[in-house]
């Protein structure tokens, strides 16, 4: 059998998903037996022109990790879609926007102002901000346009499969790769993870207790056996897809939601508001108000609940005042 052609590429990403690939250890060599790597910037030098010269669908499987932050990301996503038979959104950034998606609480202007002009560590007397095009004596210099809004991969191109997680576990990755390099492809849209929520799979003791206040993890002696939420510690388990095997819970950390919502949950923020509010032990408006504001993140429920999925959420971003 001819070897498959595999591509791995990154857009707005941290590189952690690449590391997760490498963490597969010697299985990477096994992968090499069934597939030729035709593009993977982490491990070898490739040029955009190499990809452009490929025929359409020349790549059998493309694993793309990273969100779509700028015009270059978008063009590469489009190009790789055109050249790939199967396009996989790898990791939470590609699937839901991930950590880079938190930038959707701001827009380009706000980000540029802070990063290039106002932050304390910036020394930029000339007030230079990135331009898509600049004239210099040698000619014209260009930069890809930085978008106002971070997008998920499937908001830009058609995506065949999803491997969520920040980063995905090596087990899941290996399973997904084995499936995708096998004879029978799963139905389009398959998410290589669980279908239930993490709470459904969690073995911590749940006693149905309500809470009179929320606490910071560092400020309490946690009971290692009991549900975090019932101890007043925000855990995103009720709104998060299972499949990681409770990676964080096993290390006695609450879930931060990196596997994104299940199909049924759809919007992590909406579900977490519902799930957490349901535990508040009060029937009185003022008291409820008080307890809610005792959240360890009193000003930041949105970023806590949408830490990995703001671009994928129903509202996608903070509202733009002057949207047209």
């Amino acid at each position: 059998m001819a070897k498959l052609k595999l591509a791995v590429y990154w857009t707005a990403a941290c590189g952690g998903c690449d590391m997760a690939m490498l963490d597969m250890g010697e299985r990477v060599l096994e992968l090499d037996r069934v597939a030729d790597i035709v593009l993977w910037p982490l491990v070898a030098d490739f040029k955009y022109s190499d990809v452009r010269q490929m025929e359409d669908n020349a790549i059998d499987i493309c694993l793309l990790h990273g969100a779509v932050r700028n015009e270059e990301n978008r063009q590469m996503a489009e190009l790789l879609r055109q050249k790939s038979r199967v396009l996989v959104a790898l990791g939470s950034c590609a699937c839901f926007g991930g950590i880079p998606g938190l930038a959707n609480f701001f827009d380009r202007q706000e980000i540029f102002t802070w990063v290039y002009l106002e932050s304390q560590s910036t020394d930029n007397a000339g007030g230079v901000c990135p331009q898509t095009s600049a004239r210099v004596p040698e000619g014209e210099l260009t930069l890809p346009e930085f978008f106002d809004t971070v997008l998920t991969l499937d908001q830009v191109v058609d995506v065949d499969y999803y491997i969520p997680g920040c980063p995905p576990t090596t087990e899941m990755l290996w399973q997904a790769i084995q499936t995708l390099t096998g004879d029978q492809l799963p139905p389009k849209g398959t998410v290589f993870a669980g279908s239930k929520t993490l709470c459904d799979r969690c073995t911590r003791q749940k006693e149905g207790k309500s809470i009179t206040g929320f606490r910071r993890l560092a400020a309490v002696d946690i009971d290692l056996q009991r549900c975090f939420l019932e101890q007043g510690i925000v855990c995103c388990g009720p709104a998060t897809r299972s499949g990681c095997g409770g990676r964080c819970l096993r290390a006695n950390m609450p879930c931060r939601g990196c596997f994104g919502p299940t199909e049924h949950v759809r919007d992590q923020g909406a579900r977490l508001v519902g799930a957490i509010a349901a535990m508040i032990a009060s029937d009185h408006r003022e008291e409820i108000e008080k307890i809610s504001h005792l959240l360890p993140v009193p000003d930041d429920p949105a970023a806590t609940f949408y830490r990995f999925s703001l671009p994928h959420s129903l509202l996608k971003r903070k509202r733009k005042e002057n949207a047209s």
Binding site: R317, K318, K320
Partner: protein, 144 residues
């Protein structure tokens, strides 16, 4: 894009069947005037109003969302309205962070006989929304 001047706010009101909806009905049959722009969604109980419904309403073009039902103690499902009450501060805080002003989302108790109050709540909220201007959420998606 809708601008402030030619703007009739779209208020989506989730009303519980037993109290607020009956109250709205009462207002209608008693000829008490309230803005025609309100879109009423009847639910069995305010406890049924998943935060997702509120987000969806905004997403689909509502300028404001009102959730209204029985006074505490009067809920036909015992504590559905208490559940709604527990969600309110967290949801409101989250919406504010997403740029949806506090005034655009309200939870108000209206009994079956409070037609007058229903009309007042809707009128006041519509006025507030007119002040705030259109939400124009749909424009948030373009790239540049």
């Amino acid at each position: 894009m809708r601008t402030k001047t030619d703007f009739e706010p779209l208020l989506v009101a989730f009303l519980c069947h037993w109290c607020a909806y009956t109250g709205a009905d009462f207002a209608g049959s008693a000829g008490i005037k309230y803005p025609a722009s309100v879109r009423i969604v009847r639910v069995m109980c305010t406890g049924r109003v998943d935060p997702l419904f509120v987000l969806k309403a905004f997403r689909e073009g509502a300028d404001g969302v009102l959730v209204s039902g029985c006074h505490p103690g009067d809920c036909h499902y015992v504590d559905g309205n208490i559940k709604a009450m527990r969600r309110e501060p967290l949801l409101a805080a989250m919406l504010e962070q997403l740029g949806i002003e506090r005034e655009r989302f309200q939870l108000v108790w209206v009994s079956a006989s409070e037609g007058e109050k229903f009309a007042r709540v809707v009128t006041e909220m519509t006025d507030t929304l007119r002040e705030l201007g259109p939400l124009n959420l749909k424009g948030g998606e373009q790239l540049g």
